[in-house]
């Protein structure tokens, strides 16, 4: 239990401390130290959960089970590796004058604050607190998106703020409706928003209210997931903020919104009895997947490119969760991990790439392999992994997903596969021009620490070749929770 609190308190302490000293030159290191400590705590937490099973805090405020423990671990890990990248990256930004000391303080404090809100969102048992945390995550990052104070970044920040604010407000309404339905089942109880309680009684709630609630939840959290047509904030926010933020946004925040959505789906499915929620998620998933795939073809900014790819992958996961069934769900859960790892690795690489080329514009990035082979190859390999080629983990999860689709609704496979091909073409047509060929005059290598990227890619490779037993166990338990049946 202590480790759970540590996992949450460390980022809190980090936020407060860095709010004071964030402008110092050592702040990057302090940031890193806090993330390392958080990661260590989360590892101990995971071991504890592995040994003892589900963990419920005394006040029933926190609840760690197989579904969120690995996400907590993933969060802490990506938070740490991104912090490794963040230090030198932001130092470079400071040096070239894109940010000043005050903003560095904001940045570092909010980095920790962001991690805190995400960890709270994952570990909380209270659905209301979940909402508060997700909204908090928006608020923590909104100023980071406009950190550079360029007209574009301000615009992106404003859009992010308004669209997500309006969206997430719908989720609150949905939560209120769930609470309303739960109150009737558990009258006068203070526990009507506790997931651990509701999950037991889900079948008894009023289906009409829950259906209504799910629509709002879907719109609300769906906005944060980046489902088309609620996604418009996403490419802007991801492309204009500092790159470490993009890595975390894309790699983690989207996952958390999806996590919230799935938690609610788990409550709503038994009550409604039909697969209405699932169908809606499938529809949104497929639409996002297709549209994002097409949009990839028209990108001119490398970070926008990868944020659309995030939409695409989130669409795929949403589709999979909507599809239901053990295999698709297992695939989607696995996809959450591998996508996070790959995508954050890619954004970290993109950060280095933009330093090499001095620009985020795809037109200006050329000959990376020539100038700096390690960056070029990491970039290329990470994209290959992202496109779902084996032996990387994304292949495994997509394999599961497609075969599951083939089994339950074969005709949907056609748009799914054509979408995948379209998206792949969209990624690679840009990719090739950036990494291959001759470098432009005067392009020189930069100092880059690629170990976070390599670590992520190795993890993804490992997950593609063989998934460790403990993870399989968790994923399977989570699958059982989500759809009632495991794959093993």
């Amino acid at each position: 239990m202590i480790y759970l609190y540590l996992t949450l308190l460390l980022p809190l302490a980090g936020t407060l401390l860095l709010a004071l000293i964030g402008q110092q030159r050592t702040a990057g290191w302090v940031n890193l130290l806090f993330t390392i400590a958080t990661f260590a705590a989360s590892v101990r937490l995971a071991l504890e959960v592995f040994a003892q099973g589900v963990l419920l805090s005394p006040g029933k405020l926190f609840y760690v089970d197989a579904f969120n423990v690995y996400l907590i671990l993933l969060n802490a890990l990506v938070g740490m590796t991104t912090a490794i990248f963040s230090g030198p990256y932001m130092a470079h930004e400071l040096k070239i004058g894109r940010v000043d000391a005050g903003r560095m303080r904001l940045y570092h404090a909010m980095y920790q604050g962001f991690l805190l809100t995400m960890l709270v969102a994952l570990s909380t048992n209270n659905l209301g607190v979940l909402w508060v945390a997700v909204e908090g995550a928006t608020l923590a990052t909104v100023l980071l998106v406009s950190l550079y104070r360029t007209p574009k970044s301000i615009e992106a920040g404003w859009k992010y703020f308004i669209l997500c604010g309006v969206g997430i407000a719908q989720a609150l309404f949905g939560t209120v409706l769930v609470y309303f339905a739960a109150e009737r089942v558990l009258p006068g109880s203070d526990e009507a928003l506790l997931w651990s309680v509701l999950h037991q009684r889900a079948g008894e709630m009023d289906p009409a209210v829950l259906t209504l609630a799910f629509v709002f939840l879907l719109i609300g959290y769906g906005t944060k997931v980046g489902l088309v047509p609620l996604h418009n904030w996403l490419p802007d926010a991801h492309s204009e903020g500092p790159t470490p933020m993009s890595a975390i946004l894309s790699g983690l925040l989207l996952n958390i919104a999806l996590y919230a959505l799935v938690r609610f789906k788990m409550l709503i499915d038994p009550a409604i009895g039909t697969n209405l929620a699932g169908s809606m998620m499938m529809g949104f998933g497929l639409l996002s997947f297709t549209v994002a795939g097409l949009l990839l073809h028209r990108q001119q900014d490398v970070k926008r490119l990868f944020s659309y790819s995030s939409i695409e992958h989130m669409g795929l996961m949403t589709f999979a969760f909507g599809l239901g069934g053990p295999m698709a769900t297992f695939g989607a859960l696995l996809h959450m991990i591998v996508h996070s790892l790959t995508k954050s690795a890619l954004f970290v690489t993109v950060g280095h790439v933009s330093h090499v080329a001095g620009s985020q514009s795809i037109e200006k990035i050329r000959g990376l392999i020539h100038t700096q082979p390690v960056i070029g190859w990491c970039f290329l390999i990470a994209t290959v992994a992202l496109a779902g080629f084996p032996p990387f983990g994304i292949f495994a999860s997509e394999f599961l997903l497609f075969t599951a689709t083939m089994k339950s609704s074969p005709w949907l496979v056609i748009p799914l596969l054509s979408g995948l091909a379209v998206a792949f073409a969209g990624l690679f047509r840009h990719m090739q021009r950036m990494v291959y060929g001759d470098a432009p005059e005067g392009q020189v290598a930069v100092k880059a620490n690629m170990w976070p990227v390599i670590l992520h890619l190795l993890l993804v490779l490992w997950l593609g070749i063989s998934i460790p037993a403990v993870l399989v166990d968790w994923l399977d338990q989570a699958t059982i929770m989500v759809v009632g049946k495991g794959v093993l």
């Binding site: 209270n126 209301g128 508060v132 703020f161 604010g165 407000a169 209120v176």
Partner: protein, 226 residues
């Protein structure tokens, strides 16, 4: 539903609900920024009254805290802050026009109210209070708030629309379930507070970066051939 069959408290709540809905319409129609802010503050007052009403009727003590928060945030702090902004940004003279013509928007809002009622119809009425109808009203407030954000060009007006959505949400929580658990209430209030502050920061950023608070000028980030 026969009004006379209801206890007085509930009659008062229903009246407040209709008044809140009315303020939403007013917000939609207002073209002066100060007018908007004032109307918004009045909506907060109504919300505050409704909360007190619920707290007294059902003896929910934690609702008094909510009521206090509402009073502090929605009636005093946010309107005060917005007013200060408007003055400092020197935009209080500007007239805010409604995109698409205010009559059309009003009709649209009316349709939204009907739609909200239609949407909540399937909910079975179990509780004593005519909750379903108040939920319909709060849903209508939310939707109208959204409509307002869509039809207003000025960032400040959008913020007020957003906050009025929040009011609708809050109202629904109050009337349907007598308020959320305390921890959630506090969290939501904290989020609203932070959001209000952030909005203020953003006004200055937008003003500095783009030169106008007209959100239609925020169109640098788009796809296609630029």
């Amino acid at each position: 539903m026969i009004l006379s069959g209801l206890p007085l408290a509930e009659q008062v709540i229903l009246t407040l609900a209709s008044l809140i809905l009315f303020t939403s319409f007013l917000l939609l129609a207002q073209s002066r920024l100060f007018g908007l802010i004032n109307t918004f503050a009045w909506q907060g007052v109504l919300l505050f009254l409704a909360t007190i009403m619920m707290a007294a009727t059902y003896d929910r003590h934690h609702l008094y805290i909510s009521a206090a928060l509402t009073l502090g945030l929605k009636v005093f702090f946010i309107p005060w802050q917005l007013r200060r902004m408007v003055v400092r940004l020197d935009i209080f003279r500007q007239v805010e026009t409604v995109v698409g013509g205010s009559l059309l928007v009003m009709i649209g809002a009316g349709v939204l109210v009907l739609f909200s009622y239609y949407v909540v119809l399937p909910i079975r009425e179990l509780a004593l209070l005519s909750i379903r109808n108040t939920i319909a009203v709060s849903l209508a407030v939310i939707l109208i708030g959204m409509l307002m954000i869509i039809t207003r060009r000025k960032a400040v007006a959008q913020v007020i629309g957003f906050m009025s959505m929040e009011n609708g949400l809050f109202f629904s929580a109050i009337v349907s379930t007598s308020g959320m658990p305390m921890v959630v209430e506090l969290g939501v209030a904290f989020d609203v507070l932070v959001a209000a502050i952030l909005f203020g920061i953003f006004f200055f950023q937008i003003r500095a970066g783009i030169g106008s608070l007209d959100v239609d000028h925020l169109n640098r980030l788009r796809e296609g051939d630029q």
